[in-house]
């Protein structure tokens, strides 16, 4: 629809005067086509790149008893993850918060496995239960509170540095280096967290647990396989507290 209009404002034409041409190109189809292309690109692109969480697992090789790293009992805290599922295997969601129902059973130090009356139920499992709640009103809550308290010394030191970094006294790189040093400072009391995911635990709960390590600046943690003792502890805990097993 390109139009070339001749301005022809009546009357005499001077000889020798150039004809003035008013060129008017209609861009509407061009815009239409561009819009189509934009829509195509918008639908086909991934603007948000996914993030990754880097982990290192131990190799599967058998380690000799003497070579094993022993964790101090006072430092160890074991988290056993579980997710509530319905009979179909679908993850159950909490009606109030809309979040999936992840449960964390945890014990500090060694598991207590006394069974005096030999009924297969451990009498006093030293298990406690927490949930992933995150922060409420800026306060740490749920399992984060437990881990936070266990790693207080490190967190306090790091917060001092964080404040400095916020006030631009140290740059990002320096902050990261100092934070790493504090995390690995063996003079501070730091916990060793052992994360065990039960067979029903969803992948999300594992990631949430790993997240808590990062949030609480815990440098020593490992992902381990659940064993018979752990299952026995949970079953005993559920039986004693009248929670249905499935």
């Amino acid at each position: 629809m390109a139009q070339i209009e001749q301005s022809d404002k009546g009357g005499k034409k001077k000889k020798g005067a150039q004809k003035k041409m008013q060129i008017h190109v209609d861009f509407t189809p061009m815009v239409d086509m561009n819009m189509l292309l934009i829509t195509f690109f918008m639908l086909c692109t991934t603007m948000i790149k996914s993030q990754t969480l880097q982990i290192a697992l131990p190799s599967n090789e058998k380690v000799e008893q003497e070579q094993q790293n022993k964790t101090k009992q006072s430092e160890a805290i074991t988290l056993i993850l579980d997710t509530e599922r319905d009979t179909d295997g679908k993850v159950k969601f909490d009606a109030e918060t809309g979040k999936p129902k992840h449960t964390i059973y945890y014990y500090e130090g060694k598991p207590v496995v006394d069974d005096e009356n030999k009924d297969g139920i451990i009498d006093n499992p030293n298990i406690k239960v927490e949930k992933f709640i995150g922060n409420t009103n800026g306060q740490v809550n749920g399992i984060r509170k437990i881990l936070h308290n266990r790693n207080k010394q490190v967190l306090e030191k790091i917060n001092v540095q964080k404040e400095k970094w916020r006030n631009k006294e140290i740059n990002d790189e320096q902050y990261q280096a100092i934070a790493k040093e504090i995390r690995n400072d063996s003079t501070l009391t730091r916990p060793v967290v052992i994360i065990k995911a039960g067979p029903n635990a969803s992948y999300e709960s594992l990631i949430s647990a790993l997240d808590e390590m990062q949030i609480n600046q815990i440098s020593r943690y490992q992902i381990d396989n659940i064993n018979g003792v752990d299952s026995a502890l949970i079953i005993s805990y559920k039986t004693i507290n009248g929670i249905p097993l499935h």
Partner: protein, 255 residues
């Protein structure tokens, strides 16, 4: 009385400026876009506070499919835990995705045939070419030549049916290193190719696999039970590829 003349305005709008804007937008989208790769299974990754970005080059993505939903709205576990691999090569064209994939296929073929002397699998040049164009693969090794002969539409049709036994790379039986499963054959092949390329002067993939853990990304659905994920992680551990990353979406600390 004189008639009031209503001046007729031209309805022509100058679209030049509009066109300028759209072209600018178009350029922006064209330059920033990375295309959504076709994946056989759609998964929703869990969210995490980690802010490390997924690299675009030198990356092996391991996709673990989540459970589906059947006609009655029930959870369908038959499609769960199928494993697919995607390989992205270097920006350097000598070690591009296509070339790396070709090398990996040949490497995997030779180690597969060593284990299955009675019914070896061989690929024609055309099949190797087709494989190098595939973004994500995941069919049984013995079915691979037939799969590669199909047209793209037919391949998609096969991949749609995740409950089909030939779809997905088998991960079971992983303890015996002398008899690796198909997943281990593939990962080992990728590793060997990376090492070979390192000798040729490009160690990007090799170091991503071995040192930093950036080279392997496990992508799985947030609701998948850990026992399924564990099968895959266990295989990686057996292969001594202990460092890897888990793909997540971003969330804030308060969530």
């Amino acid at each position: 009385m004189g008639k009031v003349k209503i001046k007729r305005k031209s309805t022509l709008i100058d679209m030049t400026a509009m066109s300028d804007v759209t072209v600018l937008l178009l350029t922006f989208f064209m330059l920033t876009s990375t295309f959504l790769q076709k994946e056989p299974a759609t998964v929703i990754t869990p969210s995490s506070v980690s802010e490390i970005k997924v690299p675009t080059a030198n990356l092996v993505t391991i996709l673990v499919s989540g459970a589906g939903v059947d006609e009655n709205g029930k959870r369908d576990a038959s499609v769960e835990g199928k494993v697919f691999i995607s390989i992205a090569g270097d920006v350097d064209s000598t070690y591009s995705s296509e070339n790396v994939r070709e090398q990996v296929l040949l490497e995997a073929m030779s180690s597969y045939n060593k284990l299955h002397k009675n019914n070896p699998v061989n690929f024609t040049n055309a099949q190797v070419k087709t494989f190098s164009k595939l973004n994500m693969f995941g069919v049984k090794f013995s079915e691979l030549p037939k799969f590669l002969d199909m047209s793209v539409a037919e391949q998609d049709e096969v991949m749609k049916h995740l409950d089909n036994a030939i779809v997905g790379i088998p991960v079971d039986g992983n303890r015996d290193m002398n008899k690796p499963n198909e997943f281990q054959i593939w990962m080992r092949a990728i590793y060997n190719v990376a090492e070979a390329n390192k000798d040729m002067g490009n160690d990007a993939l090799a170091s991503a696999l071995r040192k930093t853990g950036e080279g392997i990304a496990v992508k799985a659905d947030k609701d998948t039970p850990y026992s399924t994920i564990h099968d895959v992680l266990d295989n990686l551990q057996t292969l001594k590829l202990n460092k890897f990353s888990l793909m997540t979406a971003l969330k804030t600390e308060n969530d």
